[in-house]
Symmetry: C2
Subunit: 706 residues, 2 copies
């Protein structure tokens, strides 16, 4: 709906207002209309603040020491942001007032709209219409507002602010849920994680999660983004926002609820916004390099690590430890999370053993408790790992050292190492005194109390960096001509269409009758498969419509007759359009490629291995179309059963580049083909060289339900 | 090595000593020989403490205010425990002194033994021999000692104690690693988790992890056990300890490192003790209902939850929340961790909606922010869920309520609900003030800051309870007669042995020549499989030694000739013992049952699905033999591909009880058969009724390597 620049200016006015009016202002700081006034007046906001309350204005009363105006138009000077805290029935009037007053943005706390019932939804639609006509952007209704910590804009009635605010920092937070946002805010404060912006989107009548994310992508105060999302219908907007964050080099860690059936059921009863399949959502997040977290704690760990340490440049982890056991545990977690734990160079290992004979010198580098008895050893050991050229990041386990009197000395050594090798971030594991924590964070070293959480956060950053580095995914959809799929598209029609589009469909012959099938087999040579052709038959095998591995004209003819007899018996009403003869192909493994239209993201491509892997085991990967070969390669590597392609029994590995090319081609065709409702290429045979589509069922967009 | 009572008494003397001597005592509290003396003197130990130091004794000096004795024999009165903090060269003399003085237990800090080199290992063996001859139990060497918090026995030089000790509580901790133990100790202190005992085992020369665990199983001060283990060679002892904990109803959460190849490599370089396959270890932990944690934080979460909340009685979770989004997230996590989230009764749901019209009434019970505006609503909502009869535990998300002034009121409501329904534990999610935390824990409600961690801890307790409830696993091994496996056991011999042992092996006929094979096929009726019989051929299929799906005498004879020709060509030297003819069987799915001898646990049984599932995907479950049907059922349910048995395409589900019976029978036979090195039953066909072993390769224990 908005390109970047059209979005930016009105939202700047909303999130960085020069003057704020509270409509429905209250003299009582604990009331919904009193709280934001109280926060704005006491927490350092530098712009002008106006209190709007017709009763107080009529009575000539002040509100929290401010003149009360009857209407926002009465307040002096331009107002960028109006905070609306009046009952639902009064909100439309408030928006009309805002339009008249030239207000640029509205934050609406009021509830009683789409979250309640259909009349509420209608009232909400009217609000949005009125606001848009006046060029006003609307956050809410039914939201907890936002905070801009750098400029002290507390446009919220969240009571959590009373307990204190987190330090100013570089983490922006967007939450659809107010309660969740408030909880995350409190957790950030308790952990000392610095925030830039805190935004809750509530009913998302106008401004949604995606636009807020996109605004943060361009916000100079924000480096890292934490999100919480329940449901999204604006798939295009979300992808644009993700892409904007990626272009800006800003990692995102987010919770998207509804991963399990139980969660989806709970979400459906909680919000009407949930749409689309979770596996598709998961695929899109991977596609844009967004980290999907299971918990708000995991999000905050990542945001904290990124904002303090910066981003590592590679996946080679150096594990530095005073405890052998902790080293093993970290090595387990590092491997499980996709980090490499390469050995130090022989020279470094030799020097390590010179310093402490019984140190573990490889990696983990186990310097043992002995290190504290050996002057200079701690610093040199750190240097041996950081300067070895063999690692991209370090996780330093120093047990409870951060509490001990000697801890600050160790910290100075770590800070010196960090400064000498600024490209190598350190993630510290220790229990820390406040002084130690301050020194560590000042040196760019985040602190974790649990070794696994430190390694997990480091691994998440590595994967985020890899996502940020990947080239933009979308070769323009025009790259492929659209597929024109007829109603009742048969298998040979489908294969022909795919072949025309440049995809490696299997060669085949059509035959009107058994004799012609025999001739066709002879022409093809080698063993063949014969199948019935009918627009009315979906699962050909189930009714005897397929015969495999036939050799010789006589056998083919006999089989063709058998097929016709079986089909006549099992599907007497079906229109038959003859027989199809194709060579029997053998390859490395059977795969499945699917295209479907997701209600949120439109055309998506699925990839999996054939048979039980897709259907029973749900070992599949999704991506929104279009995408490129690199993305397709990532998709293939997501399969749990990847080994069946890379280390098959009895053949060379499958040609993964060919599969990736095929997937990317399919994705471009899917994106370019509004007529295509779904495609089921099953099987696609992965070969030692290339890949071939053996069967395809294409369904046009307007097809009646089967 | 020890039955329960033989273990108990000497270890009581060690862990609960009436008098302690420190050998190598130092006047300096920060020195290794000074620290325990300092702790014992200042932290409340009520028994007598003696300082042993020949130099100080000769000089007539006191040590930390105590008389110095030259030898432990010189100290007055009986000494139960001697702490040895002298250089390695002096340790044997110290043990000899202890023997003479009638010391019962020794804790040895000294390092320089098996962790260093072979002479060190020999010196360590001599120490153990000397100690055992004198009836002394030895903890260490190269360990950080132990603490008995109730009796203030600080037999450790861990510096972490200087920063303070955790509260006295019901959690016992055993760690092979001292550094790791120290870190866990500090974490427990920081989180206020109450400990009973803290034990580090170091080199485990005499007392190992298993015996310490077994002692804690009988310790009245301990309810819950946290463990950290790197490697174990005493599989029998470990199983006995696990069983003792289970009998005593004490849940165990432990970290066992070396889960990944990288971790195992790091562990191997760190400790020589690692042995056995990780998947086998994993299976044994499941078998005894031990929770295998990935991190020390997870262990502490579980220990904290269990010691504060007690154990839930079932897996039905009630999710109570002031935020819909948190409810969805918790539902996701609950489902992913195997909890049920059943809906409340219709009556309860109706009443919920009477109180707050827009509450989420099902489960999660989303009481919304509105609950704080409605007097009495919070308490009644809690009661509606706790008193509904539909849940076994509750997780209550109250956002940052534990920090707000109103929080203590909410806590009083939760405490009242907990008291009214003592069978339903509550796990709270909130940020808490110290007063709130104290009130919550006094009411038996553990507090978590992250909703997922609360749900994960609750789920872990549920699974621990299910493990504790399971009946003891081991029908006596005598229940099965041992299998006598000949050298070069052929497939028909193997199948015959299994059939004799009462297992469902496929029926078959032997045939000396193709003609006899044809006759045998005719006698069997229906399609058959024909295989070569040879003690020298392992993989029959690979050399054309198997032909499937043969019908009719002529086809069978021809195939048999083909087999003999192929085998003569491909394996010219192999001894041939004729042909085997068996009916072709079709079933639900092909499975694999294996028996192997694990270096730690002896005979273990493996179960998996056939083909790629075992070999490429490693989707297998292990158990130590013997075990019963219930355990076998749990084993089957561990498979990721379980659906291929329970929801197969095109047939009724497999007969899981029959598979479980078969696995349990195999396990009894494996346990009773020292002659059996390994067995590979592949495939075992799971049927709609029953199961049948189609092929079996048995290897006797003394077989030369293939």
């Amino acid at each position: 709906m908005h390109d970047g620049s059209a979005l930016r200016e009105p939202l700047d006015a909303l999130f960085r207002p020069r003057a704020v009016a509270v409509i429905g202002a209250s003299d009582t700081p604990t009331k919904i209309g009193g709280t934001p006034l109280h926060y704005l007046r006491t927490l350092g906001y530098a712009g002008r603040v106006h209190a709007i309350n017709p009763k107080a204005a009529a009575a000539g009363e002040t509100i929290q020491g401010l003149t009360a105006y009857a209407r926002v138009q009465d307040a002096p000077g331009p107002v960028d942001l109006a905070i609306v805290a009046v009952p639902a029935a009064l909100t439309l009037g408030a928006i009309e007032d805002c339009a008249e007053a030239g207000v640029r943005g509205v934050v609406m706390f009021s509830s009683g709209f789409a979250e309640i019932d259909a009349p509420g939804a209608a009232a909400q639609a009217k609000l949005v219409e009125t606001a848009r006509a006046a060029g006003i952007r609307l956050l809410g209704p039914n939201c907890l507002g936002f905070m801009n910590l750098a400029e002290h804009v507390y446009a919220t009635f969240a009571p959590v602010v009373n307990a204190g605010v987190p330090p100013l920092g570089r983490v922006g937070l967007v939450s659809q849920s107010g309660a969740f946002g408030g909880f995350a805010f409190s957790l950030a404060r308790e952990r000392g994680i610095g925030l830039s912006h805190w935004i809750t989107t509530g009913n998302q009548a106008d401004l949604g999660f995606a636009e807020c994310l996109e605004w943060l992508a361009a916000d100079p105060a924000t480096d890292v983004i934490v999100g919480y999302l329940e449901g999204c219908t604006d798939g295009d907007g979300l992808r644009r926002a993700f892409e904007a964050c990626r272009s800006a080099g800003k990692p995102i860690a987010m919770v998207k609820v509804g991963r399990t059936e139980e969660g989806a059921a709970a979400a459906a009863s909680h919000t009407a916004a949930l749409a689309g399949e979770d596996a598709v959502f998961d695929g899109v997040l991977r596609q844009y390099g967004v980290h999907r977290a299971d918990s708000i704690e995991e999000c905050l760990d990542i945001a904290y690590a990124a904002s303090v340490a910066g981003l590592p440049s590679g996946r080679r982890a150096g594990l530095f430890t005073v405890s052998g056991g902790a080293g093993v545990l970290m090595a387990d977690t590092a491997a499980a999370r996709g980090l490499e734990v390469p050995p130090l160079s022989e020279a470094a290992q030799a020097r390590v053993r010179e310093i402490i004979a019984f140190a573990g010198a490889r990696n983990p580098l186990d310097v043992t408790g002995q290190v504290s008895q050996t002057p200079g050893a701690f610093r040199e050991m750190l240097e041996l790992m950081a300067g070895d050229g063999s690692v991209d990041l370090m996780v330093d386990f120093i047990s409870a050292g951060g509490l001990s009197p000697a801890g600050l000395g160790f910290m100075a050594d770590i800070a010196a190492t960090r400064a000498a090798h600024p490209e190598i971030p350190h993630f510290l594991v220790t229990l820390a005194s406040p002084a130690f924590r301050a020194a560590a964070e000042a040196a760019g070293c985040p602190i974790f109390e649990d070794p696994n959480r430190a390694v997990q956060a480091a691994a998440a950053l590595v994967h985020l960096v890899e996502g940020l580095r990947r080239t933009a995914p979308a070769p323009a959809p025009e790259a492929a001509p659209p597929l024109r799929v007829p109603q009742g598209c048969t298998e040979p029609q489908g294969l022909a269409l795919l072949a025309e589009a440049g995809l490696p469909a299997v060669d085949f012959r059509l035959a009107a009758a058994p004799e012609a099938a025999g001739e066709a087999a002879e022409a093809l040579g080698g063993p063949v498969v014969v199948k019935i052709v009918s627009p009315d038959i979906g699962h050909k095998s189930d009714i005897g419509g397929v015969r495999l591995n036939l050799a010789g004209r006589a056998e083919v003819e006999a089989a063709a007759r058998g097929i016709l007899a079986a089909v006549s018996a099992k599907a007497p009403g079906a229109r038959l359009e003859g027989l199809m003869v194709a060579p029997m192909r053998r390859g490395v493994a059977e795969c499945v490629i699917g295209v479907q239209r997701d209600p949120t993201f439109g055309p998506v491509v699925m990839f999996g291995l054939g048979g039980v892997h897709v259907e029973a085991l749900r070992d599949v990967a999704f991506r929104a179309a279009p995408f490129d070969e690199a993305e397709a390669t990532a998709m293939i590597h997501e399969l749990r059963a990847l080994r069946l392609l890379t280390q098959p029994r009895g053949s060379a590995p499958a040609d993964l580049p060919a599969l990736a090319r095929l997937l990317a081609q399919v994705s471009r065709i899917a994106a370019a083909s509004p007529d295509l409702q779904s495609a089921d290429m099953n099987p696609v045979l992965a070969l030692e060289e290339g890949a071939v589509i053996l069967d395809a069922l294409l369904i046009p967009a307007s097809a009646p339900p089967a």
